[in-house]
Amino acid sequence: MTQLVLGQVLNGAIVGSMYGIIALGITLTFGITGIVNFALGEFMMIGAYATFALAERGGLPYPVAVVPAACIAAAAGYLCNKAFFRFTRGNLVNGLLVSIGLISVFESAVLWYWSATPIEMHYVLPGAIRLGDVTLPKMKLLVFAVIVVVIVLTYVGLARTWLGRASFAYAQNAEAATLMGVHTERLVTAVMLYSTGLAGLGGALYASLYSLEPALGGVYVLKGMEAAILGGIGSLMGSLWGGVILGVIEAVGSIFLPTAFRDAYGLVVLVAILLFRPSGLFGDET
């Protein structure tokens, strides 16, 4: 039993890191632009399908296909920002409605072109690594490592660079940031590009692990939202930890309770934590 639990703690952490990358996009977008972008899951889906198209149809090696796939998702994010989101800043409800509308648009487009029948990529890195009695697929470990590196680099980038400080300044007081020379329009565009690109990267990594279908983004954006709230909206490392904790709760909960309800276990713990820490585990209490 110990080995089973240990194995699922590790597996849950890996699966949870996928929630974390979406949570990071959510927390960045909301923290800096004030938009709750429920459509981030769709940018993840775009990244996943783009990876499939580039690797399976275009013949690109998987590691090469990941970068343009994330860029395609970011480009879609850029267009959505220019066409819709820039008109919804400062209006939470309108932003929410636009993002929900985009879910339908993107899902329908993919449904039309690819159909809803799941598709699967070739195995990028088959096989598993044994750590004692615990066995973990190599590809999952690689995905976990990539996500952790990306989140840490994002944290460092925001904490140590002028752009990062400008972002925090804008999030705290947009008017003051503008007066201090921050080019707010460019900043917001950069945040949208980066968060949708991150979601696209998440999708590209997802494609190497699971079969793809148009509705995949819906599940992950909800998990990402849970992870972001659990970690504390606005906390970059909190989004990673939120995702990991959520993944571990789901995995370990499913050992002792029916797997058919695994989605509920994370939600129950989330509600319980929010009762005591309304701003999340790593959120600012002030």
């Binding site: 089973l4 849950g12 029948t117 096989g127 066995t135 079969s211 279908e213 499913s254 050992i255």
Partner: protein, 390 residues
Amino acid sequence: MKRMPTLLGILAAIIVLAAAPAFAQDVVKIGQIEAQTGPNAIYGWMSSQGTALAVDEINKAGGFKVGGKTYKLQLVALDTRGEPKEASVQLKRLVEVDGAKYIFGPFLSNVFLAVRPYAGEFNGKILMWGGATRIHDYVGTPGHDFLMRTWNWDAGPNGFGELMVDQLVKQGVKKIALLYQNDQGGKVMEDIYIAMFKKKGIEARLDYFEPGTKDFSTVLAKIAAWKPDYLFPGYADSYIYDIVRQATETGQLKKFFLVRGSLGPGLKNKDALDEYMVYVPKYFEEAEKKDPKVQKFIKAYKDFYKRDFPYDQAPLCSSSCYDHVYMLVEAMKKAGTVDDPAAVKKALMGMTYEGMWTLRFDERGEEIFNFDVVRLKKGGALEVTHINPK
């Protein structure tokens, strides 16, 4: 003279309108409600492909004669995407707007349960041919004369599932783990197989997963800790691909037993598994080499759709598909009518159709046909057993 074009136009319109009912009478409409796309589309997609092909062949051959009149077929195939609500609206359209008396499908139990009450209102006026497992509970019962099931039943002396479980018993299998999706299809399989395994002395455990699940690591680890001889995963390829991959990648579970789904997930993971035993209505790769009817079908498919033949999906054409269109036409000829589904059903019940499969119906209206059981071994070696139910 200036009025001449107008008069000619009116005349042409009158001719077209007068002729329209005559044309309409010469067409027999077949409606189809199947999931052509979606996670559970494995069944409906191939059915819709085969039906369209047969309709095209029959029409190109000049149609068929009933009572001295030549008829052509018109197929109205709608994609339910596996959504019961969507299917209900589509069936209403097929029956009330298109006037289709012959309905092919559904293959999914959740869809069937949703459309059954509405279809029942047209008892005796329509004929519904579906492969859904839940149809077994209703076919041949009062108020369900409209229903025929186009799939072998799992249990009983002719049951393909029972025969496969008997093979497990012969191997000395003691424990089997069932991993089903938490939906109507999963529940119906629980009803059939838990009792069957118990009767045969095989210990079974059942785990459900939420539809939409992609990561099965936890439940597979739980199952592996129980040390079953075989894993019996769900009924839809969309999940079976992920399950077989994740189970074999970690080496936790290497033997699979399936009564639904295709050979595809096994073939994709053939080097990592020990055995993949699956019910396949026909193993086309082998049948193509021996059976001219299968060769003709494969060639016609490639010519019609201008793409490769889907060997892994093609076995699903055993239900509400290619052969059934021809069988329906033969039944109409035998009954001497295209407008009376009750008479056509009576003709169907008394006939055996020799197509790619040998098709006939039992006294309840449930189909019995020959099928194959394929055992895929590590590395890709195959062993095919042909079964001809009595």
